[in-house]
Chain length 346, copies 2
Amino acid sequence: MPDLRKDPIVGRWVIVAKSRAKRPHDFESTSRMKTGGFCPFCEGNEDATPGEIIAYRPAGSHSNREGWRVRVVPNKFPALEIEGDLQKRGDGIYDMMRGVGAHEVIIESPQHLLSTADLEEEELREVFWVYRDRLVDLKKDPRLVYGMIFKNVGEQAGASLEHTHSQLIVTPIVPINVWEEMTGSLEFYNYRGRCVYCDMIQQELATEKRIVLDTPRFLAFCPFASRFPFETWVLPKSHSSHYENIQKNGVEELAAVMREVIGKIEVALDRPAYNYIIHTAPFDSQELPHYHWHIEIIPRLTKTAGFEWGTGFYINPVPPEDAAAFLRDVDMDARTAKTLPVKKTG
Amino acid sequence: MPDLRKDPIVGRWVIVAKSRAKRPHDFESTSRMKTGGFCPFCEGNEDATPGEIIAYRPAGSHSNREGWRVRVVPNKFPALEIEGDLQKRGDGIYDMMRGVGAHEVIIESPQHLLSTADLEEEELREVFWVYRDRLVDLKKDPRLVYGMIFKNVGEQAGASLEHTHSQLIVTPIVPINVWEEMTGSLEFYNYRGRCVYCDMIQQELATEKRIVLDTPRFLAFCPFASRFPFETWVLPKSHSSHYENIQKNGVEELAAVMREVIGKIEVALDRPAYNYIIHTAPFDSQELPHYHWHIEIIPRLTKTAGFEWGTGFYINPVPPEDAAAFLRDVDMDARTAKTLPVKKTG
């Protein structure tokens, strides 16, 4: 069972898992992404993963057999384990608890596709819907307080398998970056009485210069203080703090937006490695007036060096205004343009 | 002139520099480290760098000529620029200022060595002393409030040149991670009346299990909530908030400790890429009872994925107790053992 340990200075929780590796030399090289050969996520190889938690498949078809469209399975090498109680405890000035939680893999397609933009819009809707389904289910567990959904594409982004998939880690603590967003946005709300994310949306819509895509329900833009070149955020225009409260029509539009934005990034940057992460409010809160769920998409173009690691202080060589202009100008194929109710800016 | 821009949610400052690159494809690949061929940092190639700010060289020798032992020059591609005023201003909900600051390179040896542990102890003392000299000089500038000293070794750690060097970035703002350490340690101090770092030192000395090296003035240990495998911190045992207040005898011992700890990491992990970062208090504060300067050494063994980026929540596959035990057991060469007043633990 892994530990959850808290840094006594800044309050950051870390998962410390006892690895199978026995000697330091086992950690020498960075992990390689498996490409080619057998893929445990492809249709027909259902036996190669742990049994499915949920799958969208035709009525009457058998679980852990062919025929599924989206499939959620436990991670074979979980960072956290679902059984047992937390055993919160201190050790002198240190705080820790058992590494209880969930670590699941969302296999986004039965086919060996590589990226979000390779999926059809209809398929992608089911991916964003199954995220919601899993959060709704897992938040019933009183031990767990936060669900992180993220996707790694490409070796530079930390992917270990290339078949398009995302991951869900559900934890008994709130991760520090989310905690900082929660407290920072609360401070703004207490001072101004408004949601800082709603204010950003208003200002971005007014100036237009950092907008990548503007649809009836969503806004995609490169944030004013982008840490990374071509960093792009997607926000719902209507205030909402919890991703899992999204409705069917929201998911339909979100799938189209994510497919187009990631497609634009892939055309502009020649299919870079990338991550996206859904930032949403903790389970144990009701709808919050100060927090606003959003998705951060980060192409992995630059190597972060000691400077960034040590200080959280980033050097971004591409102004977000330039990045957004590049992305707006990317021509997408006719099909995407036809099915999406897009109001292009610029 | 680059911008400094502040994220309105969490308060993180970012340097946004207008790159020379004109098209998105110029950012496609991660930067490669230059190896072999001409090295601008080697003795005899002084013309290949901007003119030196300070160098330790024999009296009577000429600046920007051969004969130096340690040499500090402006970064040829600075992240911040030293001229002009800050022009702090708002843009709607956003805050920004001009990217005023200093970005310097400390060339640690006239010879083409690759790592801190390759330097003789006497050479390394001058490196740690010149850090102090530059901080003392730059903190006289009332526009500047923070000096970050860091070192990148190896391509995976973000180095672009292999000749052993470190960097100094001096900024008009406090970087967010340092700010978090300042506020977190103040909170601990207000609650308990003690420095949290001093408490950590006491507890680590009592349990011994995470100690890597214990000398009269310094303690090196793998922190309880290590984010990375073999992450190692070096702290002065006597409370001190500002690195630049270090004395000659402190620098002498610190050089020996850093050389031995990095040497151990290099033997154990077969010369991995690594970073170290000096965490110190802002210029505009007097000696602080709650903050404690320290050095964080981070071997770059694992690729951080979307999970860590998005949440600040790390998965560390090597418990710090195991890492410290590995490092304690590494045999260093006789010379190091002879010259260092080492009290080994374990």
